[in-house]
């Protein structure tokens, strides 16, 4: 499908879309600026369909405008009685057959793309990456079963390679959507496991949304996909594998924080590999760019979050613990120094900006 459509795409985007809006949205959030295989394939499909629609629309509007101008009742014509035509066979055939043909033109690439995006064959090959994605109210958990690495909120993938996702949910239905890399897929609770794959072209930090209504904080269930070069990816994996959950932090405050954390928070949060949990895995929390997917990453916000998570994400499931403001400060210090890898969202965005 590349070829002529590929050439059509930039022209099209330029001419039509920019007519309406100055831009097409945020670089790494918009489906109109694909940075991965799926998104690109789908944009091509959209372009075909929009081209067909425009074609039809122009015809309809041409007839429409002509009729309205030409046959509008004029002064003095009030008593004119038009010829009562019953219909016209050949016209009827034309406007039945042409739409059918147009729809066939659309149907073929649609079916191709649908099967293409469900293609799981390469997955069995040596070295292909599988990640288990679990949607939770209102956060995402990512588990790398072969590497025995777990993380939450930030999904690290290598560029230029297909990464396969096995997707489920721990509570209600969510939908995993990274507009600029791929389409979306629901995560269902129970045994209905879904699969899809991601293939990012460029290094970068990409926004993801939950796209299925899942409760009060549905609109706050954001996550990020961090695409890094394959060397960096390998680096990241090995950094993650070598996390020592018991390591003693450097500062006194952080050491106290660690103790308080283990006391109050470990029931839900894990540091180190944990295939599932009640709350997000915080192993590399120091490398996050957002807290809980939405808050700007700084100590003040983190303390606020720990003290009062419900204020930021109504209805979220972090509750039933008791820490003082001071403890929260210490815990924040502890959590923020959990940056075990050189490969971070910052490192990616700075390198891709060059």
């Amino acid at each position: 499908m590349k070829g002529w459509i590929g050439k059509l795409r930039p022209v099209f985007i330029f001419s039509v879309l920019t007519l309406f809006l100055a831009g097409c949205g945020e670089e790494n959030l918009s489906a109109l600026k694909p940075k991965g295989y799926g998104a690109e394939l789908l944009l091509d499909l959209m372009v075909i369909s929009i081209a067909i629609m425009l074609f039809v629309f122009v015809i309809v509007m041409a007839i429409y405008t002509f009729v309205l101008i030409r046959y509008r009742r004029k002064k003095g014509d009030e008593d004119y009685i038009p010829k009562q035509t019953e219909g016209n066979k050949s016209l009827e055939i034309i406007w039945t057959v042409i739409p059918i043909l147009l729809l066939l033109i659309l149907a073929v690439p649609t079916v191709q793309a649908t099967f293409d995006l469900a293609d799981e064959a390469p997955r069995s090959e040596e070295g292909s990456i599988t990640i288990e994605v679990t949607g939770n109210q209102y956060w995402w958990h990512f588990n790398y079963p072969d590497q025995e690495v777990s993380t939450s909120q930030d999904l690290y993938i290598p560029t230029g390679e297909r990464v396969y996702l096995d997707m489920t949910s721990s509570d209600v239905i969510h939908s995993f959507w990274v507009p600029s890399i791929a389409g979306k897929m629901d995560t269902n609770p129970g045994g209905n496991e879904n699969t899809m794959y991601l293939e990012a072209y460029e290094e970068g930090v990409y926004w993801g949304h939950c796209a299925e209504l899942c409760g009060e904080s549905h609109s706050l269930m954001d996550f990020r996909v961090i695409a890094v070069s394959s060397e960096d990816y390998d680096q990241w994996i090995s950094d993650m594998q070598n996390i020592d959950a018991e390591a003693t932090p450097e500062t006194q405050s952080a050491q106290d924080g660690k103790a308080a954390f283990e006391n109050s928070c470990m029931g839900c949060h894990a540091i180190g590999n944990s295939p599932a949990g009640v709350g997000p895995n915080l192993s590399n929390f120091g490398n996050r760019t957002k807290i809980a997917g939405i808050l700007d990453y700084n100590k003040e916000n983190l303390v606020d979050w720990i003290m009062n998570p419900d204020e930021f994400k109504p209805g979220n499931k972090m509750q039933g613990y008791n820490v003082s403001e001071e403890e929260a400060q210490q815990i924040a210090d502890y959590l923020m120094q959990l940056d075990h890898s050189e490969v971070t969202p910052e490192s990616v965005s700075s390198s891709s900006e060059e």
Partner: protein
């Protein structure tokens, strides 16, 4: 024996008259008023949604309330505004168009209305009893089954009751159209509005049972501890999605088809031309109805049904564009060569064509299964369905109301104000919803309470909100027009539009028995035929004779009231067993009324032909 002639005996008598009426024309009024009321409520909810989304990080309403707002907006608009308004039109017009004195089941007709109204009221009571339903109008499990409070219970009971009313109404129209047509009114001579009502009723008949079952299962899961959608006990939440959409997709054609019919009648009247390609139009209607049942899974492309199912449903969905296109072109060619009069009704119809075409085309884009992985659950979909629903259904209701207002209320709506209401609504509509397609593609999912600064979504949302306010202005002007017309406009003639079909052959408003003598139908557009042959009215098919009329009855009201009461019982018995008393009382009232109905003979009464002659026109 009650007399159906409404006598001006004060407000109390009038209310009693409306509560007990079985006259389809009065039931039409009831549907119109309650549907219109719910439309305003749904519109108010829409305004609140738009205000919340006006700017990034807004906290006009809380996240929880926002979810209640969208759920109630969608549910109210679809079930309690659009459907009843359509039923209002069908009740007001269909019997007249086929030359019938009445509908087939006047009693059931009234029952259908009261069930709808009490169901709708029940649903809206939830606002005041601790929270409205908040799982979206689609109410997906397990979000709905685990939703706290009683909101979703209200959704279940309210829709179950009003859904039963709709089903009854649908059967009534089916039988009316099959059995009550005047002599000579063959199927292929029926006006398009009657045809589309017929097909719509078929869709109601086959689509609503799936919703009924879905709601029962939901009720059992939430109130009686069953495990249909509970994955931990072996249930399967996808069952709800299928049941909902097996109903839900035909539902959208239930909404649009009657208005396709209304547009056909209006466009042909105001172009002074016979409908172009009548039989193709009928065929297209049937085909849309038929295909409407095979495409529901296009709402579930991202559920994970697999590429084979997705492809099949994608292609079958696209197929619907063909019969719909046939309709669009036939309307265009009805106007071609005609003499188009830009009345307010025609203005709405003209505006409908491009608006709906855009909506339909985005529909076909959505049907492209893989591409839907990007569109699904984003504002692109919101844009699509408001284009078809507002640009099709709401425009259609406005057009039809302007067109049939004289038949329903005896006065022509003021044309100037009609045009004045149109423009802000039309411009506002495109402002609101066109931009939403782009918001969706730029990464804004639907049902989002808020979005953040720096996502480039602010401008688009602002434009959208401004548009919504323009629509509100248009609606208010329309309301003003109703009041203005009632006070200032003169009585309308029987045939103010130079109409073509039978409803224009009798006075505006018609006498309660509609036709003094049943008309003889001699072809398509019977009144037009007679007028072209120089006659004033339609040839009667029978000599003047006694007319048989049904009795008024309060039982439909009581049956529905009973279910309303029982509804509360079912909702709250989870908290306390004593609420089963409400169930017993309510069901007792309902079943008792049913028994009364079945045991007491109701033979109706006769108007004697002498009275008819005396009364002249029946005025």
């Amino acid at each position: 024996m009650s007399n159906a002639i409404a006598q001006q005996r004060g407000l109390g008598a009038m209310i009693w008259d409306y509560i007990t009426t079985v006259d389809h024309k009065k039931i039409a009024h009831l549907y119109l008023v309650s549907g219109g009321f719910f439309f305003l409520i749904g519109g108010l909810e829409a305004m609140i949604i738009r205000i919340q989304l006006m700017k990034p990080d807004n906290e006009f309403i809380s996240a929880g309330l926002y979810n209640e707002m969208i759920t109630m907006h969608g549910t109210t608009m679809i079930f309690l505004a659009a459907m009843p308004l359509i039923f209002a039109l069908m009740n007001a017009v269909v019997p007249l168009q086929i030359g019938a004195r009445d509908v087939a089941f006047p009693f059931l007709n009234s029952l259908g209305f009261w069930l709808f109204l009490f169901g709708g009221l029940l649903l809206n009571v939830s606002w005041f009893t601790g929270g409205a339903p908040d799982a979206g109008w689609t109410n997906y499990a397990p979000l709905s089954t685990t939703s706290a409070g009683h909101g979703v219970d209200y959704y279940v009971m309210g829709l179950q009751i009003s859904g039963a009313g709709t089903l009854i109404g649908g059967i009534n129209f089916l039988v009316t159209i099959i059995n009550m047509r005047a002599p000579g009114m063959t199927y292929m001579r029926m006006p398009l509005f009657t045809w589309t009502t017929f097909i719509t009723s078929v869709l109601i008949l086959f689509a609503f049972p799936a919703l009924t079952v879905g709601l029962f299962l939901m009720m059992f899961d939430r109130m009686f501890g069953s495990a249909f959608f509970d994955v931990t006990a072996g249930g399967n939440e996808i069952i709800w999605e299928h049941l909902f959409w097996i109903f839900g997709h035909p539902e959208v054609y239930i909404l649009i088809l009657p208005l396709f019919g209304a547009f056909s009648d209006i466009i042909s009247t105001f172009s002074k031309k016979r409908l172009f390609g009548y039989s193709a139009m009928v065929f297209a209607t049937v085909l849309i109805g038929f295909l409407g049942f095979m495409v529901w899974a296009h709402h579930m492309f991202t559920v994970g049904l697999g590429p084979i199912a997705n492809s099949i449903f994608a292609v079958s969905t696209m197929a619907i564009a063909v019969p719909t296109g046939i309709k669009i072109f036939n309307w265009l060619f009805t106007m071609w060569g005609g003499s188009i009069k830009m009345s307010a009704a025609m203005l709405w119809s003209i505006a409908f064509i491009p608006s709906f075409t855009i909506g339909g085309m985005t529909g076909v884009m959505l049907a492209s299964a893989a591409a839907d992985y990007q569109y699904h659950d984003t504002y692109f979909v919101v844009g699509h369905f408001h284009y078809v629903i507002v640009g099709g259904v709401v425009f259609g209701i406005f057009a039809a109301l302007h067109y049939w207002w004289p038949k329903m209320f005896g006065k022509v709506l003021n044309e100037k104000l009609g045009h004045l209401a149109f423009w802000p609504f039309f411009i506002g509509f495109h402002l609101t919803f066109f931009i939403q397609h782009f918001l969706g593609l730029m990464g804004m999912p639907r049902r989002y309470w808020t979005y953040f600064e720096g996502q480039s979504l602010a401008t688009g949302n602002m434009i959208s909100t401004v548009g919504a306010f323009l629509m509100a202005i248009g609606t208010l002007i329309f309301l003003y027009n109703i009041v203005y017309t009632a006070i200032k406009e003169p009585q309308a003639s029987a045939d103010p539009w130079d109409g073509r079909t039978l409803e224009w052959s009798i006075p505006s408003t018609p006498p309660f028995y509609n036709f003094k003598q049943t008309p003889l139908v001699r072809g398509l557009d019977p009144l037009w035929i007679e007028k072209m042959e120089g006659r004033k009215g339609v040839t009667p098919a029978e000599p003047l004779g006694d007319i048989h009329m049904p009795n008024a009855s309060v039982l439909p009201f009581l049956m529905s009231l009973g279910l309303f009461i029982a509804g509360f019982g079912f909702i709250y018995q989870v908290d306390h067993n004593a609420w089963f008393i409400a169930v017993a009382v309510g069901m007792g009232l309902t079943l008792g009324s049913m028994l009364t109905r079945s045991l007491k003979d109701d033979l109706g009464y006769h108007i004697h032909k002498e009275d008819l002659v005396e009364k002249g026109d029946g005025k």
